[in-house]
Subunit: 154 residues, 2 copies
């Protein structure tokens, strides 16, 4: 289990209990994998990774858990146009921090960038505020992506 070699339960422990969810082996294993992966794994990739350490896991459970984690705000779900959803931890000790994505339409490579993030966040904050008021919309999330060709694909 994730915190066997640590001083206490992992940071998401409280999140779970707080939302009324049960802290199961599958969920811990999935979150554990997500917190160690730096890419943008699909459900199946997460399944395969979890399967290495917890072979009893089922793909269905992975899908269900990911859905749950998205609802709980612990992870983000992205569509990079390759026909499968991809996931990423939204925050946490090992998080690389808020970032957006550059998507290569040639090879599918994803580049996380944090450049200009401050200006982007600032503008998003303003826009979010204005839109919320004008359209009576409760904004919970935003998405910014740039699509194009990476160096290798040009």
């Amino acid at each position: 289990m994730p915190w066997r070699d640590d001083t206490g339960p992992p940071w998401w422990h409280g999140k779970f209990r707080g939302c009324g969810y049960r802290l199961t082996v599958s969920r811990q294993a999935i979150l554990d994998v997500l917190s160690k992966i730096t890419e943008h794994p699909s459900a199946e990739e997460i399944y395969l990774e979890v399967h290495k350490v917890y072979p009893a896991i089922g793909l269905t459970t992975v899908y269900r858990t990911l859905e749950l984690l998205v609802q709980a705000g612990l992870i983000f779900k992205f569509d990079f146009g390759d026909g499968r959803a991809r996931y990423e931890l939204s925050e946490g000790p090992k998080s690389i921090g808020h970032h957006h994505h550059l998507v290569c339409i040639g090879c599918g490579r994803i580049i996380d960038y944090t450049d200009f993030i401050d200006e982007e966040i600032e503008l998003l904050r303003k826009t979010k505020k204005g839109l919320s008021k004008k359209y009576n919309f409760k904004i919970t999330n935003h998405l910014i992506q740039f699509h194009g060709l990476c160096g290798k694909c040009q």
Copy 2:
């Protein structure tokens, strides 16, 4: 056909011939439907709409044509998280102009907004320039969406 009651061929005629594509009945019908719809239709919705005026159309052709139009830059393809791609004319006489989307995660409603678009575009331009240089990335497109709950769903 689209231009039967008009003075000349529709604006996309040249685009097609210029790219070496053939201007077929199916393609005209699909573009015609797209230029009249103000929502964000899925491939099947487009198929059903075209089918009313041109019953011989096949769903496969709709998918192929949409793919083609995306490549040609005539339409944009979006994923609003409901499991099917949605399409929208990128420009043209009846276009509402450049806009971004507000996606309700409750009922799936999409709101097109143009507020703050100028600031957004300006920031995107700067960001795009910086990212292109830093990552040697040729950016062809961007995506901005806000997700949340609309008035009815709160």
